[in-house]
Amino acid sequence: MVGYILSVSDLNAGYGRFHIVFDASFNLADGEILTIVGPNGSGKSTLLKAIFGIATVYSGLVSFKGSDVTRYPPHVKARIGLAYLPQTDNVFAELSVRENLVMASYTLEESEARDRIEEVLNIYPILKQKLDYKAKSLSGGERQILALAMTLIRKPELIMLDEPTGNLAPIIAKELLKKIVQLRDELKKTVILVEQSAKAALEISDRALLMVSGRIAYEGPSKGLLEDVELGKKYLGLR
């Protein structure tokens, strides 16, 4: 297992009585972008939530940097370097951008918090101009960037994003994907992406995972999935 930042083996998960993910296994190396794709309701988001500890894990193993973290509650996972960004409600809409960043650094010492906020503002200068705007007044793309910034404040090593481009216009989605590449290339983060609009996301990622009806149907380099005509046509709407 050494060498992988995250490895998942034989994971079965769901919500209460609803068993959704079946026997999922995969490994992810440090500094890679993995995109999980698949049709609606195939269990992509549930897999992500199970890894982070929000969905119920029935059996299987999740290990992070070589140690078993399967049963850790979300806030503990957040502390040890995992981050999860939900698809919606990932910022406080009624709070200003500044207040959102303060909340993201809530558990940190004041001076450290100030430094980290400064740091992420340098990564995402667009937020600098909107510090006193309420988050609800931001555009969809800006809001996702704010959410990303809030995640980065806690210096996670593995960032899991649930359909970050879901509600964005294609052009803005592309911008956001650039930011995600930046996470890997400049900040050396490992990223897991769940995406519906598969093609653009697969193009920027290193590895891909295709889920169909709760099971992993493909696991490998993302190029491989992009070039697999049959799978692409069947599940991803690619030509």
């Binding site: 957040a78 990932n90 406080f92 009624e94 207040e99 303060v102 909340m103």
Partner: protein, 335 residues
Amino acid sequence: MVLPSPEFIIYSIAYGSSLALLCLGLTLTYMTTKVPNFAHGTLAIVGATVTLMLIDRVYYQFRGDPLYYSLYIAAPLIAFFVVGLVALTEYLLVLRPLVRKGIGIIGLMIAALAFDIILVNILTMTLHLAPSEYFGKLIGQSLKGFDARVSLADITTTFSRLAMPVVAVILTVTLHLFLTRTKFGIAMRASIENPSLARVLGIDVDRVYIVSWFLAGGLAGVAGSFLSFIIESVKPAAGSLVIVSIFAGSILGGLGSIYGALLGGFLVGFMEPMATIMLQNALSEFLGRTVIITQYQRLFSLLVVIVVLLLAPQGLTGLNYREVIGRVRRVVGVG
């Protein structure tokens, strides 16, 4: 239309200010725990009772002494802490355990009502049993005569009526600064808006709820302390009528914003006596004889609850004017 006397307007402003604080507290606890606190009216009466007991102790000694006026600071302050603790007891001993057990909203509401009944009866018991130095017996006493008179030009009013709005404004500004300028205050707003995200970020949401309940109780205590000089008599059962006005103001404010609650509470509290007296004057003029309708004053609050829920259930803060006009049309049956 003849406006009511300046004295009456001052009285209405004072009443509106105290109701604003009560609605603020109710809305705060509603936003955190999602349960309408049916005991909130009685919390105000606890504040009034604390004031009554305090006056019973000190009036005899300090009557006429300028020191007596420090009561206007001491009484609300003590009421703030006492009632804050009572509200905290309600949350920690009654509601939180039930929330954690997964009891539904109906169960939580009846539990709040149960706490109200317990509180009313403990108050009654206390007022019957507590030794009284000045009054002889505490139950049913009026504090109207214990409020310092103040004359401004040809208007005579009382000190508490002038102080209440000032205190309300000071408390509101303080709370606003607390919620926007301190890290914990911002965390309170964050936890109210999105508790699960707040938890992920490491905010102790439960502590936020505890502070909310204490604050809500404290503000009810301050309001009740001033109200004790305004209401006819301090009796435990009065809370069951005050609660209707509190709900009216909070619902008008939308039950989702503390600023809405302040506005809704003030409007209901100010308009309730004003509208009643103005309607009474108009009716008397129209019929050519004196008509008394002040005993029905509280119906104004019920009317507000009904009209707001029918026309704009989101209250003032969630108001979408086009939609409201549409609803009015539908209800009235035009178009």
